[in-house]
């Protein structure tokens, strides 16, 4: 009885202490606040890491019951399961399990062999010879030969082809003639023997290897009934794909799941997990991971999600860096952006560190070059453009924008009022308030507007914006991140609405005109410095990606280039005792 009373007293005392402890801490930080309201928190940048599960046995029953099935999430596949014809990126994910390419990339973006055992590139860097692995088969058991590769490249040249792949970039000899109907075959494609194919191009292009070495379609299956100029018949085959990837399609339940079966004819052996499923989900879909309905999810990378995943116990957690970068683009057709000092001022005057830290809580870093830190081309030897209000003010003064009525800068009677267009999301929620404050101090009025992605694309293509936010897709080659800065690319909507810099043009050309990575590194460094001096964009962030998988499954090791598609053949389910 007495003991109980004492412990109760102790509890109250402790409680009081801990409460007062809390409040002193808080008031301490409050005292600091008025003195330095703009002080930024010290946000630690989170390194790429793998955090193993602490207690596999905590896995929910629903997951434990699936002994031969692995479930991953995917937002919304559309049913066009063909790597060259899909219209929706998620169908690309579905296809990548079914179709294997000749050449893929590793986690640093360097080419690695898949269906092709090796490849040779001629000394003039124009001719590619792919050597296929012996005894390759499609999932129905039919042989995969160089003829199939030739067929795949041929239909991409067809004038009725409406997919995303731009094969003409590789400039295969005779490709244009085929498209225009002047030739029956493509001159530059030669099948040497069933295991060897040679492709001759007319221009050196560092990107050609991966385009030419893409996924292979079966000629017997997809080529039946092909006549040049007519690809309509393919539509019926999109729901019944045939490839040489680790898995084959079992069943597509619209709006719900894509089910796969292990492909026994896969060149590296039949995958250990018999069933693989992509489940259609919206957003993080944390609830499905928590209830055990899914084994693999990707999440918004932030402290909250990481903590929650750790607390689950059964989650193996991956933190890795995306190959995409996000940016705010200037509308270079606007006269006031012609002066690069104005653009520089807008970068110096925006506290990007604060935006990135607040939005991503350490799971993102400020970007200064248009390539991800995981790429071989990444460099930090560029102007870091740290937040510097005074410098920004000085630059605007120099450029002739003087403080006017209401604190808004003016030049020739025109106010410096900028329209900023963006989509709704966690970044814009944070960016808009901070940018408005920052620019107000600088004497620039910022008007923000939210719209859906497609409207954003259409309106920026028209040049309705002064500033607009975007993020790139996954970038495989460093050239993917800079191609839009060429003056001949104007008008394209990732583009710049008229950015033009002869030196940049020259370096862009040089960057893809050699296949030697060391040489390219130097060229890109020079390019990035030029882009820093005459900025086409305000580079914002490189983000971390956060994925987790149930520890009962081993083999997941996603990377920023290929996601999990490279892991699928290696998945294993480990029984939980």
């Amino acid at each position: 009885m007495k003991k109980g009373l004492i412990s109760a007293l102790l509890l109250i005392l402790f409680g009081a202490v801990s409460v007062s402890g809390c409040s002193t801490q808080e008031s301490a930080s409050d005292n600091q606040t008025p003195a330095a309201p703009q002080e930024t928190r010290d946000v630690q940048s989170i390194p790429d890491s793998f955090i193993p599960a602490t207690d596999k046995s905590k896995s929910p029953e629903a997951a434990k019951k699936r002994t031969d099935t692995v479930v991953a999430t995917l937002t919304e596949p559309g049913g066009v399961f063909n790597p060259y014809f899909y219209k929706n990126g998620y169908d690309g994910n579905v296809s990548s399990a079914i179709f294997a390419p000749l050449v893929s990339v590793d986690k640093n973006g360097k080419p690695i062999p898949r269906l092709a055992e090796k490849w040779d590139i001629s000394d003039d860097q124009l001719t590619y010879t792919f050597h296929l692995r012996p005894n390759l088969k499609f999932s129905d058991g039919s042989p995969l030969t160089a003829q199939d590769v030739a067929f795949t490249l041929t239909i991409l040249h067809d004038k009725a082809y409406d997919g995303d792949e731009d094969i003409f970039e590789t400039k295969i000899k005779g490709g244009q003639a085929y498209k225009e109907g002047k030739a029956d075959t493509i001159e530059g494609i030669t099948v040497i023997d069933p295991q060897t194919i040679q492709i001759t191009t007319e221009k050196v292009n560092a990107r050609s290897l991966l385009i030419l070495g893409g996924p292979v379609l079966s000629k017997a299956y997809y080529g039946k009934g092909y006549t040049p100029g007519n690809l309509e018949y393919l539509r019926t085959l999109h729901a019944k794909p045939l490839g040489a990837g680790p898995y084959k399609l079992e069943k597509y339940i619209t709006g719900q799941e894509v089910r796969y079966l292990a492909n026994e004819h896969y060149y590296a052996g039949k995958p250990a997990v018999e069933h693989f499923i992509y489940k259609t989900t919206e957003g993080d879909a944390l609830q499905f991971f928590q209830t055990g309905e899914t084994d693999y999810n990707s999440f918004t990378a932030n402290e909250d999600n990481l903590e929650l995943l750790k607390s689950l116990g059964y989650a193996n957690i991956n933190v890795y860096t995306s190959t995409a970068y996000s940016y705010i683009k200037f509308n270079h057709s606007k006269p006031y952006f012609k002066d690069k000092r104005v653009r520089q001022a807008l970068i110096y005057g925006l506290d990007r560190q604060k935006i990135v830290d607040t939005a991503y809580q350490g799971y993102g870093q400020v970007a200064n070059v248009p390539v991800s830190p995981v790429s071989w081309a990444y460099t930090e030897e560029v102007n870091p453009y740290r937040y510097d209000l005074e410098k920004a003010k000085a630059l605007l003064d120099e450029a002739g924008w003087k403080a006017g009525a209401g604190g808004i800068r003016e030049k020739d009677g025109q106010k410096l009022k900028l329209y900023y267009l963006t989509t709704k999301g966690p970044l814009s929620d944070v960016l808009i308030p901070i940018a408005k404050e920052n620019y107000k101090e600088l004497g620039v009025q910022l008007e923000a507007e939210l719209m859906d992605y497609n409207a954003l694309l259409a309106r920026t293509a028209k040049g309705d914006h002064d500033l607009a936010s975007f993020s790139t897709t996954m970038l495989t080659d460093p050239s993917d991140g800079v191609i839009q800065f060429g003056s001949n690319r104007s008008g394209s909507f990732t583009g710049t609405n008229g950015y033009s810099n002869p030196k940049v043009d020259e370096l862009l050309e040089k960057g893809i005109s050699t296949l030697d990575i060391e040489k390219r590194k130097e060229i890109y460094k020079e390019l990035y410095n030029e882009l820093g001096d005459d900025p086409p964009y305000i580079f914002l962030t490189y983000r971390k990606l956060l994925t987790a998988h149930n520890a009962r499954v081993s083999g997941f090791g996603p990377n920023g280039y290929t996601g999990i598609s490279g892991n699928l053949p290696d998945l294993k389910i480990e029984p939980i005792q």
């Binding site: 409040s23 808080e26 606040t33 002080e39 604060k354 008007e447 507007e449 939210l450």
Partner: protein, 308 residues
């Protein structure tokens, strides 16, 4: 359904024309007896005071971003805690209330205005005018609200609207999809009203059309309009939050109850930070329910037999 509405509403209308002032007194007397509705009314008045006067007493009214004080739970300094940008939730709640209540009221006023003018005109002139207006209303009503909002939202984004005026776009969107139903309602009332004796009197007095329409016919539809309009305000506040959820609403940093909830609309915040979503959630919930209870009370008070 429409035939019966017409009939009973007609009765109400006639009475309204005959002895309006006593009708209002009657109504209020009846309303006062309805405790539930009175609770709603009192709460609404308090909510208005809270939102429109409250911010003047707040030290955080500037809404400045404060990255040192991110996501802090309620304390003596910040009574309802702070949000993901270190802003005071209580202050934002009050400021958001101003916007959300204004949007609700304005969207209602606008749709009632468009709806009743078109309804009166259609009901009075009949014939071609009626056909044109009502067919157009029919057409609009065949397209469900949400898809229509998507489209209108995307189209209106083409207008370069400064952030601060975005709220008017939201009002406009909500009233654009709201008027046809009201126009139908008003028209059916007018159709029966114009056959009544007092209209024959205006005829023999030789009054002009617009006098007849707006001074004699329209006032008779006021009782039913008030009820519908009250309920509309609640609907508009909910719609505003849904627009925010879809990214078509008022642009942050301007707070609305809708975008405040939306900013905390994740499982994690639901579990870890109740102070982010409970205040705006409660504000929407309590306001909408109060408005609806009041509207319902008004309906009972104005005419016990009247339908929605």
């Amino acid at each position: 359904m429409s035939s019966i509405v017409t009939e009973t509403a007609g009765l109400a209308g006639a009475r309204a024309g005959a002895r309006r002032s006593s009708l209002w007194r009657d109504t209020f007397a009846k309303l006062k007896k309805n405790k539930v509705a009175m609770c709603g009314l009192v709460f609404l008045v308090m909510m208005f005071l809270f939102c429109f006067i409250g911010p003047f007493f707040s030290p955080y009214a500037s809404g400045k971003v404060n990255t040192v004080m991110i996501n802090k739970p309620p304390s003596l300094v910040h009574w309802l805690g702070t949000d993901n940008l270190g802003r005071d939730i209580l202050t934002r709640l009050m400021q958001a209330g101003r916007i959300s209540l204004t949007v609700g009221l304005a969207a209602m006023v606008l749709s009632v205005f468009i709806g009743s003018v078109l309804g009166v005109v259609a009901g009075y002139y009949r014939g071609v005018v009626d056909q044109i207006v009502m067919r157009f209303a029919d057409i609009l009503m065949t397209i469900p609200g949400l898809p229509l909002l998507f489209i209108i939202g995307a189209i209106l984004s083409e207008w370069k609207v400064p952030t601060d005026y975005r709220i008017y776009i939201v009002m406009l969107m909500l009233s654009l999809i709201g008027w046809p139903e009201l126009a139908r309602l008003v028209r059916s009332q007018i159709l029966s009203l114009r056959e009544r004796e007092f209209m024959q009197a205006t005829e023999s007095l030789g009054l002009r059309d617009h006098r007849k329409l707006f001074f004699h016919l329209l006032p008779n539809t006021v009782p039913i309009l008030i009820v519908v309009a009250t309920l509309r305000v609640g609907g508009a506040i909910l719609s505003e939050s849904i627009l925010s959820y879809l990214g078509l609403g008022v642009v942050p940093p301007t707070p609305t109850w809708g975008n405040m909830i939306d900013a905390a609309n994740t499982l994690i915040d639901f579990q870890k930070r109740p102070w982010l979503w409970i205040p705006p959630g409660f504000a929407i919930f309590a306001t909408v329910i109060s408005i609806n209870l009041l509207g319902d009370g008004l309906r009972d008070a104005l005419d016990p037999k009247m339908k929605r």
